[in-house]
């Protein structure tokens, strides 16, 4: 370890208990569910917790159990989307050189067209980029009645004739499953027929699972089956990693790519920000997998490890401190003096600007209170960023996460899969005898394995303050009540919530789309985030809301 490593102090890591002016946390919790029909209330009561952490004698934490990843009660106004959205929109969307054909009526293809801000930067004009396009079979009633396979086949052919892409992916929408179109069979046939184009399908009908999380799983299975491992020769690079669960919203991936390059780390692939088919195909050559969004992709890391041998670590590049920590962790894995030195140099170059920004902004943001209800990892990781400018997260929850995202991977063995998720395929993966390699590192791998170096994700709750409110799959009703009762300084959610929140006079930061800002990853992204939050929580608009005669 270099001794002159730059210090990345906590400017402020607030852990005060959840506090509101007149009500106790318990009262607030009760108020949220008071109006529900009793059956719904019972369910919600298991999904709304106060973060009461019990520290055991051995130093481990016992956390309350949350009933995550269960279906949303019908009639509830939820943040959640569907399996198709998770599969096509989230995971497959950011890859630029695949023609993604939505097989179904026009809507699904239309709504997932360019709305997620996955940025991509083809190296030259000649490289494919289909991301600004929406492809659909635009199924009509006759296709529903007589079946859509023929149309799908023709559409694949037309896409091929027009664009000659490397790969074509097909996404099944709700009615497709029902009418029995065999999209996989069609794709296999077309792959054979076209010969120089990889064609594969996803059974990601919207009704699968309980949220977009099901779609992530389906998509990742497909990526693993149809692309990972296809590249048979080892790519260049001394320290080769994959970055998993980074989708390049607002250019986050560009910041990270640049950072890795400066560190001398070869990023073989990102799943799936600024990604290409080629990246996926060579990803099994990485020595280490770094998982950003644990929720959406941890199973890919598991599958790669099982099949090809590379271990994985949880990283977090949201927050300056977390970024430094994650870089150092990667260096620790490779245990190479030069790499470590370069990592420290990058941190040293970047951190002063971060600290300067923190110091400038902190007096204006310190003590302000945030709520985060979004995603499967952002509601957690962004708490770090808020903490870096002295802001407290008083309530948080995920939109589509599972228990482990709240309570940590230690609860994985206890998670019961219910009927709604049972049909999401779990791939059975075997060791690839030809390509499997033991971890490629100088470090004492066995030593590392003993600690919590690999596969360690503690979940959101461990990091949150005592009695902070934890709400899974928050409903509009609850969010509204919560804001009215607690008057946070900022609320983080998505587009569906944004304007309702703002009607209450509270700024709402979209953490799906970054409000069309960003990047927020890495050091530069952190600075950008501080500035954006400063702007939002200190905007003059607050003072203008009430008319002078009101």
């Amino acid at each position: 370890m270099s001794t002159d490593r730059i210090n990345t102090p906590d400017l402020k890591t607030p852990s005060e208990p959840f506090e509101v002016t007149t009500m106790t946390a318990e009262q607030i919790k009760d108020e949220l569910t008071r109006q529900y029909p009793s059956k719904v209330k019972r369910k919600r009561d298991k999904q709304i917790l106060l973060n009461e952490k019990i520290e055991e004698a051995d130093g481990t934490l016992t956390l309350p159990v949350i009933n995550a990843n269960t279906r949303t009660s019908p009639g509830i106004i939820t943040q959640r989307g569907c399996s198709y959205a998770g599969c096509k929109g989230v995971i497959m969307g950011p890859t630029r050189d695949i023609v993604n054909i939505t097989h179904g009526p026009i809507g699904c293809g239309f709504y997932s067209w360019l709305t997620r801000r996955n940025q991509t930067k083809p190296p030259t004009d000649e490289h494919d980029n289909f991301m600004p396009y929406s492809f659909s079979t635009d199924m009509h009633d006759e296709n529903i009645i007589f079946g859509g396979e023929k149309k799908l086949k023709a559409a694949i052919q037309e896409a091929y004739d027009l664009f000659h892409p490397k790969a074509i992916a097909v996404f099944a929408t709700c009615p497709v499953g029902l009418i029995g179109d065999d999209v996989h069979q069609v794709c296999r046939e077309m792959k054979r027929e076209l010969s120089d184009c990889n064609v594969f399908a996803f059974s990601c009908e919207g009704y699968k699972g309980v949220s977009q999380s099901a779609g992530h799983h389906i998509a990742n299975n497909g990526v693993f089956q149809h692309m990972v491992g296809n590249q048979k020769t080892e790519p260049e690079g001394k320290f080769k990693i994959n970055l998993l669960g980074e989708y390049n919203i607002g250019g986050d991936a560009f910041v990270l790519e640049d950072m890795f390059e400066r560190c001398g780390i070869t990023l073989l692939s990102t799943f799936s920000g600024n990604s290409t088919v080629e990246q996926f195909e060579q990803s099994h050559w990485a020595q280490l997998n770094c998982v950003m969004c644990h929720r959406s992709i941890n199973y890919v890391a598991d599958m790669i490890e099982k099949k090809y041998g590379a271990p994985w670590i949880k990283v977090n590049f949201i927050g300056a401190k977390a970024t430094a920590k994650s870089l150092r962790k990667i260096a620790e894995f490779f245990d190479d003096a030069e790499l470590t030195a370069r990592v420290e140099k990058v941190i040293e170059e970047e951190y002063p600007a971060v600290r300067k920004a923190q110091e400038e902004i902190l007096p204006r943001t310190e003590g302000k209170r945030a709520m985060l209800f979004v995603g499967g990892s952002r509601a957690h990781s962004y708490q770090e960023l808020f903490a870096e400018i002295g802001m407290k997260t008083i309530a948080a929850g995920y939109e589509f996460a599972h228990r482990d995202d709240y309570e940590g991977r230690k609860v994985l063995p206890d998670i019961k899969i219910d009927a709604d998720s049972r049909n999401i395929e779990e791939l059975s993966v075997e060791k690839d005898e030809e390509h499997f390699r033991e971890p490629q590192t100088n470090a004492d791998i066995e030593e590392l394995k003993k600690g919590d170096f690999f596969q360690n994700y503690q979940g959101m709750m461990a990091d949150m303050g005592e009695k902070a409110m934890i709400i899974d799959d928050v409903s509009h009703h609850e969010a509204e009540k919560l804001i009215e009762m607690c008057q946070p300084d900022i609320f983080c959610a998505g587009i569906k919530e944004k304007y309702a929140v703002q009607k209450l006079g509270v700024p709402c930061k979209q953490l799906h789309s970054y409000d069309y800002g960003g990047p927020y990853a890495g050091f530069q992204g952190a600075i950008q985030f501080y500035q954006d939050i400063d702007r939002m929580v200190n905007s003059k608009v607050k003072d203008m809301i009430k008319a002078p005669w009101e």
């Binding site: 529900y36 029909p37 279906r71 009660s73 019908p74 009639g75 106004i77 939820t78 569907c82 399996s83 198709y84 959205a85 009526p105 026009i106 699904c108 239309f110 709504y111 997932s112 067209w113 360019l114 004009d125 289909f130 600004p132 396009y133 492809f135 659909s136 079979t137 635009d138 199924m139 009509h140 009633d141 296709n143 529903i144 086949k153 023709a154 052919q157 037309e158 027009l162 929408t173 709700c174 009615p175 029902l178 009418i179 009908e205 919207g206 009704y207 309980v210 009927a419 709604d420 049909n423 509009h476 509204e480 998505g494 587009i495 569906k496 944004k498 304007y499 009607k503 209450l504 006079g505």
Partner: protein, 464 residues
């Protein structure tokens, strides 16, 4: 470089693939229409994703909350049908969100399954899940039929089917129904203003003004002050007449009302531009004794004045436009009246009537010089290909046109749905004479900005 680097001028005939659609699916139209009923919660009977997508898209367009519930179908529901989901939803919605009306629309999923909404609503009623005085209405909006416009039309018609009542033989003099069609809240407000200026009592439905352009007042109203009330919807059956603006979006409701309550109807073009607004005002005269107040004639005169003053900048300019049939027909008429030349006119909304209507507007001779196309392959990719073949001076359409705009360096006037990268459309109408002035202003700004940008220095103009 190019954003749409795979679009070339090599047009190949497609039968199956839609690329960059110029439409979306029915349910979002039903949801938008339902938001135009006061204290109504739209309900999407299908998978969660549909509802999420529609709400997101509406919110991006209006920069407003777009509240709607969903039956949250899972794999189980898609096997066993969605009755249990809908019943539970109804119970929860009335308990928690307390609307006056739940407006259920179906999706491709529930339609493929074949869920019978009236029967489920009946069951809900029998189970006592519907509080006294509350209503459930529905529209069938299979995504694989028609387009978003169809869904709007169906839900608007449902308002008639469920609410309109004829209580007397005699119709109420001076009371008319106004079906504004799929336009902005500001347009609905503007149409209502014109009806009022004409001295008429108008019942406008649906009416999203004051709903999707609600003020920020540090309080959140789940049901903002606007929207047509259930009482007003009932009263439509007693009106002296119905003026339906836009045959695609408003026609079916007007016909239903005529059939159900014998209210005479006129289905007119959307009042975009001078002539279409003239037609609108002319038809209002049927109900107010023929009087047109000076203020309306003056607004009209101001529009003519502006067109006359600036006509040199409109003349001969070519336009590609895409969007919904009702808008496109009136826009085309207006462009022609401005001595401009619509060149490519594209709608994803299927229906051959559109071709006939455009031909009427352009005239037999001129329609031959124009590419007019409707249906699945009438998409923005095709339009872009046409533009690659022969450029135009202006694009008029929704936000998705910005990719073409930048690639081809053609100015884009945002009109239609969705507009998710600018604001203003919510607040300033493009309907009526004043709306036409705004359209003219936007067209002129586009052309004059280009002139200022592109003119050689020696011919840079101070006065224009």
């Amino acid at each position: 470089m190019a954003l749409l680097r795979h679009t070339t001028d090599d047009v190949i005939e497609r039968q199956a693939l839609t690329v960059n659609p110029a439409k979306t699916c029915q349910p979002i139209g039903a949801m938008y229409a339902a938001l135009g009923i006061h204290r109504c919660l739209p309900h999407s009977h299908g998978s969660q994703g549909c509802c999420s997508y529609h709400r997101s898209t509406l919110s991006r367009h209006y920069k407003e909350p777009a509240m709607a519930a969903t039956s949250s179908f899972t794999e189980g529901s898609s096997v066993f049908g969605g009755q249990a989901n809908l019943l539970q939803a109804i119970n929860t919605i009335f308990s928690v969100y307390d609307p006056d009306v739940i407006a259920v629309h179906t999706t491709c999923l529930s339609e493929t399954i074949g869920d019978d909404i009236p029967q489920i609503a009946e069951t809900a009623n029998n189970k006592g899940l519907i509080p006294e005085g509350k209503k459930i209405i529905h529209a069938n909006t299979p995504s694989y039929v028609g387009a978003h416009t169809t869904g709007f039309a169906n839900m608007t018609k449902a308002m008639v089917d469920y609410f309109a009542t004829s209580t007397t033989e005699e119709k109420v003099e001076g009371q008319i129904n106004l079906i504004p069609g799929w336009v902005e809240p500001a347009d609905m407000r503007e149409m209502k203003r014109i009806v009022k200026m004409m001295g008429l009592e108008g019942i406008t439905f649906p009416d999203t003004s004051d709903v999707l352009d609600a003020p920020l007042r540090a309080e959140y109203k789940m049901y903002p002050d606007g929207g047509t009330t259930v009482e007003q919807l009932a009263a439509t059956g007693d009106s002296s007449g119905t003026i339906a603006l836009g045959p695609v979006c408003s026609g079916p409701a007007a016909e239903a009302l005529k059939a159900k309550c014998q209210v005479p109807e006129d289905t007119l073009p959307l009042p975009i531009g001078l002539r279409a607004t003239d037609i609108f005002v002319q038809h209002l005269r049927k109900y107010n004794g023929g009087e047109v107040p000076e203020a309306i004639t003056a607004e009209r005169g101001r529009l003519v004045d502006m067109v006359s003053d600036m006509s040199q900048y409109f003349y001969g300019k070519t336009v590609a436009l895409w969007g919904d049939p009702d808008q496109l027909v009136s826009l085309t008429q207006f462009l022609v009246d401005l001595d401009m030349r619509p060149k490519y006119i594209i709608t994803g909304t299927p229906g051959k009537v559109f071709l006939r209507r455009i031909a009427e507007v352009l005239g037999e001779e001129d329609v031959k010089k124009v590419v007019v196309k409707q249906g699945p392959q009438a998409d923005m990719f095709y339009m872009h290909q046409l533009i690659k073949r022969e450029k135009v001076d202006l694009l008029i359409g929704n936000t998705y046109g910005k990719y073409i705009s930048r690639d081809e360096d053609i100015p884009l006037i945002r009109h239609g749905f969705p507009i998710i990268d600018r604001v203003g459309h919510q607040y300033f109408p493009t309907c009526g004479y004043r709306g036409a002035i705004r359209l003219c202003e936007k067209i002129l700004d586009a052309f004059l900005d280009r002139q200022d940008r592109d003119s050689p220095e020696e011919s840079f103009e101070l006065t224009m």
